[in-house]
């Protein structure tokens, strides 16, 4: 390339890769071996399970109780381990 030749400006450079689908189309729920089951008689709606869940797989229902979303739960068991009243049990999926 000679010095006179013009390099492409930033407007001509192709844009980078853009992922265009939401990851919610990819269900990670089939990774799990154990699934969390919430005992609603013990649950105090403290929502620590929702806060700690790395996958955002514990949704909050309209009445304020948490509800696991088995489509995305990877079964790590953090919710059961951290539940202060031990209302969550991990059972074989």
């Amino acid at each position: 390339m000679s010095l006179e030749e013009k390099l492409p400006g930033w407007k001509e450079i192709p844009i980078g890769g853009i992922p265009f689908k939401p990851s919610t189309e990819y269900k990670t729920g089939d990774w799990k071996v154990f699934k969390p089951v919430i005992n609603y008689e013990k649950c105090t709606k403290c929502l620590f399970c929702h806060i700690y869940c790395p996958d955002g797989a514990i949704k909050i229902k309209e009445d304020g109780y948490p509800e696991p979303d088995y489509d995305f739960c990877k079964g790590c068991g953090i919710c059961a381990e951290e539940c202060p009243v031990k209302a969550i049990e991990m059972v074989k999926d």
């Binding site: 890769g17 992922p19 265009f20 689908k21 939401p22 990851s23 919610t24 189309e25 990819y26 269900k27 990670t28 990774w31 799990k32 403290c46 929502l47 620590f48 929702h50 806060i51 700690y52 869940c53 790395p54 996958d55 955002g56 797989a57 909050i60 979303d69 489509d71 995305f72 990877k74 079964g75 790590c76 068991g77 953090i78 059961a80 381990e81 951290e82």
Partner: protein, 326 residues
Amino acid sequence: MAEKLTLKDIAKKPDLLMSGHRLCAGCAAGTIVRLALKATRGPVILANATGCLEVATTIFPYSSWKVPWIHNAFENVAATASGIEAAFRAMKKVNKGPLAKYEHIDVIAFAGDGGTYDIGFQALSGALERGHDFLYILYDNEAYMNTGIQRSGGTPRFAWTTTSPAGKVIPGKRKWKKPIARVVAEHEIPYVATASIAYPMDFVRKVRKGLEVEGPAFIHVLSPCTRGWRYPPEKTIKIAKLAVETCFLPLWEAEFKDGEIVYTLSAPSERIARKPELKKPIEEYLKLQGRFSHLFRPKKRDDLISEIQQWVDYEWRLILKRCGKL
């Protein structure tokens, strides 16, 4: 501070990181990002260095981000975040361009320990010196987990990694962990903090404060890694908590006010400072993790454990001194 956030408020906020990302089960990075994004004030733009988080959240053609997000190389996340912030300021100034309509934008850079301690350090240091108004969140899983557990500047001493294997002669990594948060605090930027996800409200409050200050802010948060640290996935939060309780990671904040760096201890560490008997021995933290198993099996290496304990005590004393507790 505008409003006081409670755990319930945080829980009610929508998740800006969608489910379906492919981080390992029990990975703390997911929790860290979800909580950090719940602390934002409105429009937000993210920059993300190469690392587990980037790889797992945007596997083509899927993306887990509900907010504008840009990935760049390992070394320049802080430079990219500076550029975003500078572009926003320029558009605001001439009142033209797509970002001009926003009152403020939260610019956050996410990077792992490799992209901060080692490869991305010069970009970070430069951005801090230039004083861009952005928040840098370091999620520290203490090795290059994404490429297969290679040691980094953030790996603690005697930890096993694939490039610092524990053998008969050399028991794991030979060097100490770089005190990154203190190094960054010495840049005299408005806000630096260390955090642990075991204390979610403390973390969220720090993120919000980092976004509210004018100028660069830095948060170092420990991100236990189930694959690399070799522990069962459900123990993630427990280990993050033990790191604070053993003072392996003291929680503190540093603000630059009137030409002085003011250090303050955060509540969980403040409790230990007031009642030193609450400080747990480092052994409790080490024995949960497989990467330190060579310190316990086949023979317990008390000499090495006490060496780590001495380092922890030294770091803890240093922080106490800076916070004016000693």
